[in-house]
């Protein structure tokens, strides 16, 4: 199946995450180092369909390693979900001479990549770029570490005002299906309670925990709530529920939202992106395809994309226990 790769296309797809630019830079520079051509594909699969390409050399990625977002932009493409759309995309790649792809994105982007590869046999390697850290085959996804720092820095600020006023804050963080951000940032921010999609501890337990916390002498508390928590209540309803059942607290809500996706990447994410980009290009040059670059035990690894998208990484039971102990 090995084809000789002469020109690699790189693109970002799905929700953006900090470190995507560092990964683009790494792919582009590795191509330059290996003396093969590199083409930036704008706006993900949609740009591929439209032939929105631009040649990139080592200098075109100067000064982006520390920038949030993605210079190649990202977009949803309904058209790529159709056979016609994918045909157009393939034709564009053909006429541009692109014979290998690196996709930086999450599981939705990877699913598209698999289908495309099956239909047109264009070699494609994935780099997991998402703040959610929800992909099999890698301990960390690109952007997760930065998002955690963003969240704890904001909660640190919220705690200032919470403890000045003896308030209870409900802080909603990203995570519709997985609670990795909530759990890690919750532990990092010293949250009293953490509500995640993976486990419904029940509203009773929340009240108990908050009562105990107040009794123990804590003057203020933070409850971190993942978007997809399973209590059946959103963060505003949770606040009302607690105010009603536990009138000892003056409650407030803060929804962190999209700021979690942005910001200059942490050193960890920059280094990870640099390592992953090199590996992605190398894999293509070795004739591989349909694999995702990951990091496991601090080594850069390759995992079949088909496995990577099969399910979510599980929440860490040990860390949930640590969270419990910390709120003693």
């Amino acid at each position: 199946m090995t084809v000789e790769i002469k020109k690699i296309g790189v693109f970002t797809s799905g929700g953006d995450s900090p470190g995507m630019n560092a990964a683009i830079r790494s792919v582009v520079r590795t191509c330059a180092y290996m003396k093969i051509d590199c083409m930036g594909i704008y706006r993900g699969y949609q740009g591929m369909i439209e032939g929105d390409f631009k040649p990139m050399d080592a200098r075109s990625v100067n000064n982006i390693i520390n920038k949030g977002g993605t210079i190649l932009k990202s977009a949803r493409s309904l058209e790529f979900q159709t056979k016609e759309g994918r045909k157009k995309a393939y034709d564009q790649l053909q006429s541009a001479g692109i014979d290998g792809l690196v996709v930086i994105g999450g599981d939705g982007s990877f699913t598209g990549a698999l289908i495309f590869h099956k239909e047109y046999n264009v070699p494609i390697i994935g780099i997991p770029g998402t703040i959610d850290n929800d992909i099999f085959g890698t301990t960390y996804t690109l952007g997760f570490d930065t998002a955690l720092n963003t969240v704890v820095e904001v909660i640190d600020k919220i705690r200032d005002t919470a403890s000045s006023h003896n308030r209870l804050f409900f802080v909603e963080v990203m995570g519709r299906d997985v609670g990795h951000i909530a759990l890690n940032a919750g532990v990092g921010a010293g949250a009293e309670e953490i509500l995640i999609p993976e486990e419904n501890l029940g509203l009773e337990r929340l009240l108990e925990s908050l009562k105990r916390s107040k009794a123990s002498g804590k003057s203020s508390s933070i409850v971190v709530v993942a978007e997809g928590d399973k209590t059946g209540k959103n963060v505003f309803e949770l606040k009302e529920y607690v105010e009603e059942h536990l009138p000892i607290y003056d409650c407030r809500v803060s929804v962190l939202g999209h700021m979690q996706r942005g910001g200059s990447p942490s050193c960890f994410d920059r280094v990870l992106a640099s390592r992953m980009g090199v590996k992605a290009v190398e894999a293509l040059l070795e004739g591989k395809s349909s694999l995702m670059v990951g990091i496991q035990d601090n080594k850069i690894t390759l995992t079949p994309i088909s496995k990577a998208i099969k399910g979510h990484t599980k929440i860490d039971k040990e860390l949930m226990r640590v969270s419990d102990i910390m709120t003693v």
Copy 2:
């Protein structure tokens, strides 16, 4: 009217703001320097009523200059709005030997101070601590500068993701009655449009401006909205309105909320707090009362509290014009 001051009580009242701790530190250390006693009063007027006092010396304020919030806590006190409450407060001050007060807070706190002074003739000096910058007699209130930095840093992050996805973001910032945060942070963050309580430019203009911006080649935009904007729509309704009338944009909302009150104070706020604390104690020692410390033309000044609370500082027309020009 001069009484010899031997013991000063200091407290924070109303919404907290970054720099309050630096101001407390300054009051406490100036007392130590002047060799008079200082008493920390916890939880504002409510703590005064309850006699929640603690003697403070130079070392009790170590390592707080860079901390957000207020170590003396803050609280609303309904009881202090009654004659009985104020009587209790006075009795507590008497029995603790406190013969002068420094109140760090906003206009609500100052109003209480004036009434209390009229009734009991306890000398009282105010330090304007609020992120809203809405007090007459000072160009800057404590915490305003820090809040602006917090807001622009968050909007910088939001812009990363906005421009990656060609989105329009509506960002709500604090400011129920005044638009100083919105206007300054909006200009600082390069916002496309800024909606403030002081001026209703109308929804038509907003649409025009966004249309023009898109046409000019901008791929993403930020609209900063003060809580109290006068369009008659809240930030979520604004988003819906724009999506409906201007379907060229993919819109999102972000409500920054209480994080704006927290965080380590900027150097500006720390220096301002240090200067104001010295002046407040000096004013008391000079037999003055019912004055607010301010900064005007980079000089520390004193203004009658009665004038300070009379109305809001006006929005800067020149800065509104600058904002207009910047979004060309």
Copy 3:
């Protein structure tokens, strides 16, 4: 003397400072708003001599308001100090049709501007861009506020390790001729002692102050030293002197250096830059020249450059006293 201005050249000169990009953006966009042409001149006066120009429109300054450094680069030009060099520069401006200049820089840059204007009568307006805050006619120079935040954030970190090990740190900050950074950041960081070029308090006083501090129960201390302090010792010699004469302290040195010039500008500097850029263009269009834009009492003002460069702004005696009191 009024000439009709059709094309404005903008450049940065001397040491860079945070906010220069925001000022460039403001000048460029104000030109666009006023419908006159704008030309970016690269590398200061040297680029002017070499005709290193590039037309700029409103979109060429997208996404730079929050960037440190200067996209127009800066450089020293020995050639511009010669008559021949300035002749070349004038010829380049002529052939590019540039009939007005905005120079963003410090007093060296302004001196060059004055000479050039005298010789060739090209209208020129200055914007004070330097972290040193040493220019008459403006309370704040562009970049000063950001530099202060950088310094206090770093000293906050140094204090963590200082107080963990009960150490005394000597921290050198920028300021060869003026102590504004040292004094303000020293007060903001809670420094025990601040050594500035303007006043030589003597080594005896330093020892006394440190002895008193130790005796008062402080476990660690920070001494902020401006580059140009007048003790006759550099920061390393100071450390040795104190170690020798006051063996109660374990001492360390930290020289902050060039990081003070970089970084994303604070909101204050971004807003200031935006306001100054508008005023600079307006002044040119009103036929003015040889003036510097400044901010005084929160209003944007114009001062003859000849006055601005005449001497340094004086150190604030009141703030020195505040510093003394704070270290009680």
Copy 4:
């Protein structure tokens, strides 16, 4: 060998690192959760000798998870290196009823722990707290991640001014014996060249690399130098050497120094500290001793301290190659 543990002493030793406070908090709260006593030992082994102890409960570690430094202080102890000193320490532990120890520190601290355990059989568990990341048996030491972020943030600022002036900066970072900070932060900051103790690439290669970089169109460059680099020249001599042999660059030096040890810990370090503290207490309660808690493949592990201190972790060859490729 199992003894029933009733009271655990916790202390920090050696150079401080961000996350130490979070680890103290975790040890203290885990003790509270397990319903055993906990005693804080101040100033490391020296405080142990002097009996500088303080009982700690869950509330005594409120609000420290996000603080740099160590509330228990740290110090070198020459006395503990003597038999007499260790005897005193043991007697102090005995009389305080401390029957288990958690030491948070680096390899020096661990060596002391091993000797002490051999002599007095007090169970002791280590938590690797050092920014150097130079300890076997853990992929990450506490504080390493935070230090990397500090370094890249500072280099980002330095790059602003470097690229404004087309300069070459030599930035010295910590690392006398190991180059982990230099290599990771160098890759993260996009450094042109990275000089580490583990490998002497020679000055010729440095010149070649810088020449190539200039030729490739880069206008500015950063060289990251670990303290213990093997070129035989310190960072100032390096600068002079390059200026002499490669006069195309205007060079500057920045020595980052102790700021690298301080600062609020990253989320990663806070979570790691929390997990490690739990494991340390659990290990003691299970009758274990002389083990170090580590993290490997994202799991919390235990390694004999004797192995942990045997040698340095090796520099990552793959990452060095990534660094090479990135500077194409």
